[in-house]
């Protein structure tokens, strides 16, 4: 699904180059649940954003479903992003003046899904996440955990093939975090490809594979053992 070859990302400051990502080469197959780990500033979020097409690399090749992303026109890139990807962010990114229902519905409005179909897709999400009773509430009337549930519902309502998550439980208590991670596991079991950035080993143990990044390089790439134990 994802093939990265020698991806580089840097910033130039006068004559000085600051590297963010160096020589990133890896493949991610459909159905994998991959965790990107590493210290702050290692380039984890940048890598996630490049794969999610919210940012682009300066050098190298990136193929998504066999399309050469870095050579595509912006419009086509945007179509790919919109048709296949869903995002969950640490800070929820809900719109405060829209209700829970409307927040979940948003991505469908940009995909020109018919009204009746939208209603059933949103209803399915509300049902699945146990938040039917909250549908007319506004984000500030919910707990952090509930807000993130809405964030995840919005990310998957359009049935993306790839779910990208940047520290999805970073603002949550551990019990709320577990609910989100259990949900990810369920989605993965149903066949969704997931790529998450996290600091938490516990969260990483829900996945199938770990990429460790440091100073912009991939330092380690290994599978997570069954039973949730992490080892090489």
């Amino acid at each position: 699904m994802i093939a990265l070859k020698n991806i580089e990302k840097y910033y130039t400051n006068g004559f000085q180059k600051t590297w963010v990502l160096r020589d990133i080469t890896t493949n991610i197959a459909q159905g994998e649940f991959v965790t990107i780990m590493g210290p702050s500033g290692a380039g984890k979020s940048t890598l996630l954003n490049i794969i999610g097409m919210l940012d682009s690399g300066d050098k190298g090749e990136y193929h998504f479903l066999d399309e050469p992303v870095m050579k595509l026109r912006e419009k086509r890139r945007h179509e790919l992003h919109k048709s296949y990807m869903g995002f969950v962010f640490q800070a929820y990114h809900l719109i405060d003046e829209l209700t829970v229902y409307e927040n979940i519905e948003t991505p469908l409005l940009y995909r020109k899904v018919k009204r009746s179909e939208r209603q059933s897709m949103v209803a399915e999400m509300l049902d699945r996440f146990g938040i039917v009773a909250k549908k007319d509430l506004f984000p500030h009337q919910l707990s952090g955990g509930q807000q993130q549930l809405v964030g995840v519902a919005r990310a998957i309502v359009a049935r993306p093939k790839l779910l990208l998550a940047d520290e999805p439980t970073g603002n949550l208590h551990s019990a709320q975090g577990e609910i989100i991670m259990d949900l990810f596991k369920e989605l993965h079991d149903e066949g969704m490809t997931i790529l998450q950035v996290t600091h938490s080993e516990k969260n990483a143990s829900y996945g199938t594979r770990i990429l460790e990044i440091e100073d912009g390089f991939i330092r380690e790439d290994y599978l997570v053992r069954q039973g949730g134990l992490i080892g090489h």
Binding site: L54, D55, E74, F89, H93, E97, T106, L109, Q141
Partner: protein, 228 residues
């Protein structure tokens, strides 16, 4: 335009009752730019949320354009909110995976503006705010100041009668903060009523009137200048 009579908001958690708003009586006329100040927890954001109809009062009355809206059904209030109010928040509230253009377009998808009009209105705003070249970028590719300009553009794209702003410069440096205040001042000069919550005396003085709150009550109201 906005009038409250003994407006109250009480939060109930387990056995503790917290009074966020206590008998608030204020009136805001069309064309005013009113700043609300007060220490953290004084109820100023709650007031903004209740007046913005994204929270319900627990007592008293709230008249918007002469109509009592505090006790309307959610459906009716939602309709009034979407056609009359625009919101600007401290944290910008942009959707990271939507482009600048799409973020600004968003409120119009809920008010059924035709596609051709939508495009025209978004482009007008991009032009006016000098961010046309950023239209296909994502929020995180912009500076904080540019992000807040996008947020303001989104708040006004439906041509609201009232803008509600909660600490709109709270995450910005002073140069970018000034830009946003200038933008709000211009909008006010062209007839939009503005209600802004802020910690900053400097920002508050862009308004024509300052309301100060403490413990859920209005304690003073000062006229800074005449409004247009």
């Amino acid at each position: 335009m906005i009038k409250t009579v003994d407006l109250a908001k009480v939060y109930q958690t387990d056995e503790v009752e917290t009074t966020a708003l206590n008998q608030v009586n204020i009136e805001i006329k069309e064309g005013e730019f009113v700043s609300v100040m007060g220490p953290s927890g004084c109820g100023k954001s709650t007031l903004l949320n209740v007046l913005g109809m994204i929270d319900n009062p627990s007592g008293g009355e709230y008249f918007f354009n002469g109509e009592e809206v505090g006790h309307l059904s959610e459906r009716k209030r939602s309709n009034i909110r979407k056609h009359n109010l625009g919101f600007v928040f401290q944290s910008f509230n942009l959707i990271d995976e939507l482009t600048v253009f799409e973020n600004i377009e968003l409120p119009m998808l809920y008010t059924k503006v035709p596609t051709s009009d939508r495009k025209k209105r978004v482009e007008e705003l991009l032009e006016g705010m000098n961010i046309m070249h950023r239209r296909n970028h994502f929020p995180q590719q912009l500076s904080g100041g540019q992000q807040q300009r996008v947020a303001v553009a989104r708040a006004i794209v439906n041509r609201p009668k009232v803008i509600l702003a909660d600490e709109p410069t709270g995450n910005l440096d002073s140069a970018n903060g000034d830009e946003v205040m200038k933008l709000l001042t211009e909008l006010n000069a062209s007839g939009t009523t503005i209600l802004m919550v802020t910690h900053s005396q400097y920002c508050a003085e862009f308004g024509n009137r300052i309301i100060r709150m403490l413990d859920g009550q209005v304690v003073t109201e000062n006229v800074v200048k005449q409004y247009l």
